[in-house]
Symmetry: none
Subunit: 417 residues, 2 copies
């Protein structure tokens, strides 16, 4: 079964607006067992719209469009669909009655131009719009079913669920459901992860497994289909188990969970607390931890020790240590971690000091050089990262924060060598 989308609007092709209907429809259709193969975004041009409807109806069993159903001159979907199907436009009295009733409910006279919204291609039927003036269209063109929905996301979503889904089921199009599960890991590069999982990502494997990378976090995306959600999830389970067995401690969480969520989960499961001392990450670790609700039992706080005086005044790092080793050094990272742990009475102290750039680098301490410090009751240790030199500042800050949190997470789980 092939489904495809036509997303219509010149405000989209000009780049002024970001379309989100396409993603929503892709996700909803996939869940109905109707995966989308193509989405075409196009402007308010009649010839382009006719060609797009023709091409889509010629190669897919289901075509869903968004936009172009309003009352203005640049709303061309009715026209384009009729011309693509080789039929004329006719007035639908039910649609006209609905539009008139909507204006009556709002105590406003119906502008003449809204009558155009009651026109539909011959042979089509309408999809009622419970909240707006634009009715949708439901039609067979060649062997394809075509559904036209308005571009307003709230209207599109309500009509999809209330009007289109029952018609898809009645037409025997929507059957099986497709469900996805995402497992996120950190600490290996994308190609290293794939090298350890060629059996999982092989083309044609069932269930299908994809790998994506975002800001250093690698995600396995598993998708399976079934007669219902429970069946599809059950098909995913053995693959998820392989990933959990093979990547074990590298896994930070599922869904949208990233390293910070993994660290907080490890803190909660071990009953430990952590305090952070941040130089080059400038508060990003504290921010990522405190975005999560309910962390106060495990996170007393932190220090952003940007200036050397902050390192000595707030963390008790000796001035002569900074003078002898430099602020970006393993010794200072360890002293920061010890200092913040002691000052805040935490079980763990985690520190980051480095050169985030783009300025401030030197041949000995280039942009991207970062030292992490980790202190607990038994003492402190440090770790060196090289995250530059060509990466932008915000990437270096983000990666450094993730490496630091992941290191603390592994320490909590007893997984450090």
């Amino acid at each position: 079964m092939r489904a495809e989308l036509l997303i219509v609007g010149s405000e989209l092709t000009s780049g002024e607006k970001l379309d989100t209907n396409g993603q929503w429809l892709c996700s909803r259709l996939a869940g109905l067992g109707l995966p989308v193969r193509f989405t075409t975004v196009l402007g308010d041009d009649l010839e382009d719209n006719i060609a797009a409807f023709r091409a889509a109806a010629g190669r897919s069993e289901l075509v869903v469009s968004s936009g172009g159903l309003g009352p203005t001159q640049d709303d061309l979907t009715r026209d384009a669909l009729a011309k693509a199907a080789g039929v004329g436009l006719v007035q639908d009295d039910e649609a006209l009655g609905m539009i008139e009733a909507l204006f009556a409910r709002r105590n406003r006279p119906m502008p003449d131009r809204n009558r155009i919204q009651a026109l539909i291609p011959e042979g089509a039927s309408i999809l009622p719009n419970p909240t707006g003036t634009a009715p949708g269209i439901w039609m067979k063109v060649d062997r394809a079913r075509v559904a036209c929905l308005p571009g307003v996301p709230r209207e599109l979503k309500a009509m999809f669920d209330q009007e289109l889904v029952p018609r898809l089921k009645a037409a025997g199009l929507a059957g099986r459901v497709v469900v996805g599960r995402t497992i996120n890991l950190f600490g290996l590069g994308e190609s290293e992860v794939e090298a350890r999982a060629p059996d999982l990502t092989a083309r044609g494997r069932v269930p299908e497994v994809g790998i994506t990378a975002s800001d250093g976090t690698i995600s396995f995306r598993i998708r399976a289909e079934g007669a219902d959600e429970a069946e599809a999830l059950a098909r995913i389970e053995p693959t998820a188990a392989i990933i959990y067995e093979r990547f074990a401690d590298l896994i930070v969480g599922e869904g949208t969970d990233d390293v910070a969520e993994g660290l907080v989960a490890a803190l909660r499961s071990t009953g430990k607390t952590i305090a952070v001392a941040e130089s080059c990450t400038g508060g990003l670790i504290a921010h990522r931890i405190t975005r999560i609700d309910g962390v106060s039992p495990v996170f007393p706080g932190g220090v952003v020790s940007y200036a050397n005086e902050a390192k000595s005044e707030l963390l008790g790092v000796p001035d002569d240590l900074i003078a002898a080793r430099g602020a970006v050094s393993p010794e200072v990272a360890e002293a920061m971690a010890e200092g913040v742990r002691r000052r805040l009475g935490a079980d763990l102290g985690l520190a980051v000091t480095g050169v985030a750039g783009p300025t401030g680098g030197s041949p000995e301490k280039p942009v991207g050089l970062v030292y992490l410090g980790l202190a607990d009751a038994s003492g402190a240790r440090s770790r060196r990262l090289e995250l530059g030199p060509e990466q932008p500042r915000t990437v270096i800050q983000s990666r450094a924060s993730k490496h630091a949190m992941n290191w603390a997470r592994l320490a909590l789980l007893g997984k450090l060598p």
Copy 2:
């Protein structure tokens, strides 16, 4: 001139991820006089990709693709483009050298599978990627120019501007330019701003002015076209001058500059320093300040005083004041601001304490109640914000951080009552 886009990735057609490269490319190409007619989003399927490249190259003069250039098995762009053009793949030694050099700079061995990224269709040339492993491709197919860029947005944007734009100009494809200028302000609602600018936002005005709101920041977007960038910018200037005159101190910056950039500019222009004490914002203010390069002369650091002990231990807030007034109170906000100012020897101390939710609210102190504290040599003051109760935690944190930074900015500029 017809341009079109191919946006490749099964994580997009499945609805798991929202594409933003398409909008960015549409906007940038429109600015080069190359409006996009079609954007096709498609999955990692070889036949679909070959067909999409063939169709695009057959009807458009410029085709830009995003994604599918990584080292894994589901990265099919190289293959698909070669098959669409009817040629084979060859190794590009320059590309291989670049990939090897990137791994060498990162002191990591190059996995064998990354060699595949140095393959390009016969007759193509590479688009160097300054920050990632995936080189782009630049090729003529029939009469169309085809540019393949990686899907990572940061890499795509850098390569578009640095590598593709010069080639488009050299090929005589880029013509009249459309230029935009964005002026950002904070402290008024979108409808209040619009009510003060009906002359600017009138339809048909030249240059065109739009208003958008994002996370409390209101942006005027002015667009004009010209034979070159200088001419287009000159057309924008008188409108920008009206906005600056009318909104004066509300303006925090241009382009991507937001409240943090406005605060740092005010610190630099006045030669003052600021230290921050954050409870409910949890490091977000420090993070937003330290995202900006070169702030160490104006920002010594801060404290994330999430637990009450952190407020007393690191900021010297008296325990009995917290017990008497509560951690979320004007008195504690002022004491936090005074404490961080003194401890870090800064000119200004800025503090935030509040209830970010979703839990922890009470009838007297509901979710969204936030107190700001601001201290300087003459003493401390506080301000009450009500940002909830129905907003999510991350929105309350973001708005509180912006209100705090904007308050400090206005204080530095001598604009507080």
